[in-house]
């Protein structure tokens, strides 16, 4: 068996080398070219992870490793996701810019990353060399994405929604792939607001491989929401990596709704004192969806607060994996880190895996973690029905009650309303 798979594996990887050679990258600096080349080499050397790798134990990426991919056809298509009122929009289709911004607020630089690739850009600084083969693949092959630079004390008054649409179509008749790459830099005292959304064609086994890097300077604030509503047969592999300096404040929420196989790695390095870092998430699973969230919260300096709250609502045969690691350096005294993972199983066949991991090298810290996996409460369901509420509606209300805690913190009303509607109607009626 192994003698048969090895050549396949090599052939599979060679396809990415071809994809790399075939990419047009005119006008890129030498630094960026070098970055891409070395990332490609790293990826080819590491290959796809298998379930023997500890970090991929519960998620099998063989369907991706076995597939053949080409870049999507792109073009002007109507986004399959909502473009929310109250914010500016930038839309990429199959990784290439379709709708740009007409105006940019003062003190803020927003543009496609492909137009910002100058020397000295902190691109790739937050992508670890080891252990992230998909991120390496992205660095080698990314087309474009969002570049935001908020200058010192500048403010993004209107949030920006950057949307990545996948057509799932290729001219070669194989699966489509895109590699969105985002870089967000908020300088000292600045305030940024970014919403990343991903969606695409139903029934097509396309892949989105996205990397978002965020740099927050002293006292900088970033409110960030990622909404993942990919097509039902798609793969979504993503790394979100963040570095925060003294007194910075990040509030990031991830909503995972679509896709057949989803893996999000979130890394946060708290690299100054008095940082406040929130990474919350909601997973809505149905059919045979697998959503694997790996969070890494690294406290490198004293007096920081971090908070992770991930909730999963799982129907049918869906599965959610939550691995949350809190790593506290010896120097990081007075760390206050909270991690909670709660899962609601709506069917007998749904599965939740919850893996809290604490590594603490300081002695004066407060780290708590909790995880629960449960079903809808019969008592509450009966109570609602006894007041005249139909069984299905009652179920929907209870699911909403469980999950809405995550959405309440979204301050852009049209976005929050839209997600709540999805929660109440689509999910509740489908279970």
């Amino acid at each position: 068996m192994s003698s048969a798979t090895l050549p396949d594996k090599a052939a599979g990887l060679a396809a990415y080398e071809e994809l790399f050679s075939a990419s047009e990258r005119t006008g890129e600096s030498e630094g960026v070219s070098d970055l891409r080349r070395s990332a490609l080499d790293r990826f080819l050397k590491q290959g796809f992870p298998t379930r023997r790798d500890e970090e991929w134990r519960q998620t099998n990426v063989a369907p991706i490793a076995k597939s053949q991919f080409a870049r999507g056809t792109g073009g002007s298509v109507t986004p399959s996701a909502e473009l929310y009122d109250g914010c500016d929009h930038m839309v990429f289709v199959d990784g290439r810019l379709e709708i740009g911004l007409s105006a940019v607020p003062e003190g803020v630089d927003i543009r496609p990353l492909s137009e910002a690739l100058v020397e000295g850009l902190p691109l790739g600084d937050l992508v670890p060399e080891e252990g992230h083969p998909f991120a390496a693949m992205n660095t080698a092959l990314f087309e474009d994405g969002l570049y935001v630079h908020v200058s010192e004390k500048a403010q993004m008054v209107r949030p920006l929604q950057v949307h990545f649409e996948s057509t799932g179509q290729t001219t070669q008749g194989v699966s489509a792939v895109s590699f969105p790459r985002n870089l967000i830099v908020v300088e000292r005292g600045g305030e940024g607001r970014v919403i990343e959304t991903y969606s695409g064609a139903q029934g097509r086994a396309y892949m989105t491989n996205a990397v978002t890097e965020m740099h927050l300077g002293e006292n900088a604030t970033l409110r960030h929401v990622k909404v993942m509503q990919e097509g039902d047969a798609s793969y979504h592999m993503a790394l979100q990596s963040i570095r925060l300096e003294r007194s910075a404040n990040l509030h990031s929420i991830a909503v995972n709704q679509g896709g057949s196989l989803v893996r999000n790695d979130l890394r946060s390095l708290l690299d100054g004192e008095d940082i406040d870092c929130v990474l919350n998430g909601l997973v809505l699973g149905n059919e045979q969806r697998i959503v694997d969230n790996h969070l890494w919260m690294e406290h490198a300096k004293p007096n920081c607060y971090s908070h992770q709250l991930y909730k999963g609502v799982l129907a049918d045969r869906s599965r959610a994996v939550f691995t949350g690691r809190i790593f506290v350096h010896q120097e990081a005294q007075k760390t206050d880190a909270v991690q909670t993972n709660r899962n609601l199983l709506l069917s007998e066949a749904a599965i939740a895996n919850s893996n809290p991991q604490l590594e603490i090298f300081a002695d004066d810290v407060k780290c708590t973690h909790g995880s629960t996996i449960g079903q809808l409460e019969d008592d509450a369901h009966f109570y609602l029905r006894s007041r005249g509420v139909d069984a299905d509606v009652a179920k929907g209300l209870l699911v909403y009650a469980f999950a809405s805690e995550i959405l309440q913190e979204i301050d852009l009303e049209p976005l929050r309303d839209s997600l709540e509607r999805i929660l109440v109607h689509e999910l509740a009626s489908g279970v």
Binding site: E377, D379, A380, F382, Y383, L384, R385, S386, R387, G388, V389, D390, A391, V393, A394, L397, L398, Y400, A401, F402, S404, E405
Partner: protein, 250 residues
């Protein structure tokens, strides 16, 4: 209004109601008293439609319908209300939202238009006075962190808003101090209108000083062993349940 005949019901192979009969006319207040374990709460749960209970025999007619054929929500929509002995906490749903969903479900079932936010608020303002419920409790999640008294008031408040044809009060007096008991009783009494019927389930006579029943029944081991007027409650207060339990065994 309600006619129960030969009802036998139990849970997990244990029969609790063993041939229960009761007939309640419109506008009447009936009290059911009985020692612990006699089947009082089972009766309340069975009437409300709790699916864990198995009904082996008997019939229940409610306002001309076969109650046992209805789902719990259909019973509520038909005008039956149960004030729970242990009201359930539901984190994440506000009391107001919960009640609005209930009111509109019932209206929808009757082919009426749903109330909008303004109309609903008007209804709530009117009813909240009935039980002197603190306004702030409306915005809080259903029963979460409510005191025992607040939970019971909330039950009566829901009853006032839903305006059922018949209400079952399952040990609404348990855990209430005398002031809360008066407030809750006043709320119930204000809802007496000559048509609405009540079934008051209680262990103690105390509640019946405030909610004065037309009939009192004593439940022992799953059956009514004695019925009478309100004076029966006083007799029970004096003599306890022992003598009736012994009679029932003969």
């Amino acid at each position: 209004m309600l006619e129960i005949q030969g009802l036998r019901a139990g849970i997990e192979d244990q029969e609790i109601l063993k041939g229960f009969d009761l007939k309640i006319g419109p506008g009447e207040i009936h009290a059911i008293m009985g020692p612990n374990g006699s089947g009082k709460s089972t009766l309340a749960q069975v009437l409300a439609g709790r699916e864990e209970y198995e009904i082996s025999e008997g019939s229940v007619q409610f306002d001309g319908e076969d109650l046992l054929e209805l789902d719990p929500e259909e019973r509520a929509q038909a005008g039956l209300f149960l004030a729970f002995q242990y009201p359930v906490e539901i984190p994440g749903i506000s009391n107001t939202y919960f009640l609005k969903a209930a009111v509109n479900s019932v209206r929808k079932a009757h082919g009426k238009e749903e109330l909008d936010a303004v109309e609903f608020l008007k209804l709530v303002r009117e009813k909240v006075k009935v039980v002197e419920l603190d306004d702030s409790l409306l915005k809080r999640p259903v029963n979460e962190g409510f005191s025992g008294g607040e939970k019971k008031r909330n039950e009566i408040f829901q009853m006032a808003v839903l305006e059922p044809k018949m209400a079952i009060l399952d040990e609404t007096d348990s855990g209430l101090d005398i002031d809360a008991l008066k407030v809750v009783s006043n709320g119930v009494n204000s809802l007496r209108d000559g048509d609405r019927s009540f079934l008051v389930i209680t262990h103690y006579q105390r509640l019946l000083e405030y909610i004065v029943p037309d009939f009192v029944h004593v439940l022992v081991d799953g059956r009514i062993v004695r019925s009478g007027g309100k004076e029966l409650a006083l007799e029970l207060e004096e003599r306890g349940y022992g003598w009736l339990e012994q009679e029932a065994m003969v």
